[in-house]
């Protein structure tokens, strides 16, 4: 019961959706519509599990390490402020409310700045690791160099040649490489999904 029923359910639901794809009919469209809607509802109700886990980890961390307490308290405070500030839908959706201001002036700058630091790390990586140690590495390096050169104002006709060459790189070898990866990944994903439908792959169920 603990394993066989879920495996059967996966097979049944999956097969129904595959058949629905090939049989366009009003009934199958209604089925498809409700199946989608039900999945959204399940997903919405599953998300509190993630929020609970984050809060539990924060509290546990604070219990274990006294130095962490102030930081954990700030996480919980930030969480509670946003809950209270967004309790009513008009507060939450208003562009001048506390909730919106916290979003625009705390969340946005913090997240944007965290990711902006990658510019420094990529510069450091370019300096420390981007070396033509082998022919393959040299091919990668030269390609990246030519692509980046497109943002430098070069004298004519070099600028036009470079722009044309980059266009060729993007549309021919880059396209070929990315398409091969795309097809390869798709074949892998389809195989994996088929194994799930047939009950061969069961990792998603976890252990008893």
């Amino acid at each position: 019961m603990k394993r066989q029923v879920p495996i059967f359910l996966v097979f049944l639901c999956g097969l129904t959706m595959v058949i629905q794809f090939f049989v366009p009919h009003d009934y199958s469209d209604v089925l498809f519509q409700y199946a989608n809607d039900f999945v959204i509802v399940i997903g919405i109700l599953a998300l509190p599990v993630g929020i609970y886990s984050l809060m539990k980890n924060t509290v546990n961390k604070a219990m274990r390490d006294p130095k962490e307490r102030i930081f954990s308290a700030l996480t919980i405070l930030g969480f509670l402020v946003m809950i209270v500030a967004g309790l009513k839908r008009e507060w939450f959706a208003s562009s001048t409310s506390l909730s919106s201001n916290m979003f625009n002036y705390v969340l946005v700058p913090a997240q944007a700045t965290l990711f902006s630091m990658l510019a420094f790390y990529i510069a450091s990586a370019a300096y420390r690791a981007f070396r033509a140690r082998t022919v393959l590495a040299a091919v990668l390096l030269v390609t990246a160099f030519v692509v980046m050169l497109r943002l430098i104002p070069l004298p004519e006709p070099v600028a036009t040649w470079n722009a044309e060459f980059v266009r060729w790189i993007l549309e021919v070898p880059n396209m070929a490489a990315k398409r091969a990866i795309l097809i390869g990944v798709a074949l892998g994903a389809i195989t994996y999904s088929t194994k799930i439908l047939l009950g061969i792959e069961r990792a998603y169920m976890g252990t008893d």
Binding site: F32, I40, Q111, A123, F130, L141, M148, L151, R179
Partner: protein, 281 residues
């Protein structure tokens, strides 16, 4: 100290403190921001295709603009949103917006409030913001059936049926196409679940990091256009005659790319000099 003195020039170059690299990189960005300038960009066909599509959205026609990015990528994608909104509204077109990123709605609301105020367009008539739903793939599929399935109410809590613009607008058949400004897997979902399932024309605005991955879809015709990163945004603004954040970004892109290219050259010169010295020894 003695050991430091005995180091060859190439060894010193190859082991430079990372903070010097950070400082040079920081200056390469700060200086062009302070001394504002304008550098024109070469235009590409994939951006022009999106521009021409948006330019044809006129006289009450509707384009679906998907705000599927978050603050970590807004630097590249927000200028695209702004330019597209201005262009479509300028031509009398209407915009239906949705968001599949959890941070998209508030950013969309911010930009809509700002630009709608400037351009004198009315909510519910010239644009509707459907809001956010989790699980992008399922949401796109549900939108294909009827926008009301995933979004019975809009972001502000209004019943979608009560908004004048939504009269007779049910699914992808009722919009001219989708321009998805996406920073993650939502871009793939629009291709797989929007284009392949429902046949709606899709164009993408993506980050520079993602851009090269979407050329196969462009070649196969699954995408009708692509705006790649901040350069794509600057190209779009140039075509639309808008001076926005995309164009503002090009000068520091130029200086920082020059710095990185310089780093690559220098580190390789030092690397080959060391290799030659080791061989001689």
């Amino acid at each position: 100290m003695a050991e430091r003195k005995s180091k060859a020039w190439y060894d010193r170059m190859l082991s430079v403190d990372r903070r010097w690299i950070y400082l040079i990189m920081g200056l390469a960005v700060v200086v062009p921001v302070i001394w504002e300038m304008y550098i024109p960009v070469t235009e590409s066909s994939e951006v022009r295709d999106v521009y021409e599509f948006s330019d044809d959205v006129t006289d009450g026609e509707i384009v679906l603009l998907a705000i599927d990015y978050d603050p970590s990528t807004m630097a590249e994608l927000h200028p695209m949103t702004e330019a597209i909104l201005r262009q479509v509204w300028r031509n009398g077109g209407r915009v239906l917006l949705s968001s599949l990123s959890q941070f998209g709605p508030a950013m969309a609301d911010e930009i809509l409030t700002r630009i709608a105020g400037e351009m004198d367009v009315e909510y519910g008539v010239d644009y509707v913001f459907l809001g956010y739903k989790p699980y992008p793939a399922i949401t796109i599929l549900a939108m294909g059936a009827d926008f009301r399935v995933p979004f019975p109410t809009d972001y502000y809590g209004n019943n979608v049926d009560e908004l004048p613009m939504m009269e007779g607008v049910h699914n992808f058949d009722d919009v001219e196409g989708v321009i998805a400004l996406a920073s993650g897997t939502a871009a793939d979902y629009w291709i797989t679940y929007g284009n392949a399932k429902y046949g709606v024309p899709v164009a993408l605005g993506v980050t520079g990091v993602m851009a090269s991955d979407y050329y196969p879809y462009l070649q196969s015709g699954q995408l009708f256009g692509l705006i790649p990163g901040i350069k794509g945004a600057a190209e779009y603004e140039q075509m639309a005659g808008i001076r926005g954040e995309g164009a503002r970004g090009i000068p520091y892109q130029t200086t920082s790319h020059a710095v990185i290219l310089f780093f690559i050259v220098m580190t390789n010169v030092a690397f080959f000099a060391r290799r030659a010295a080791q061989r001689r020894r």
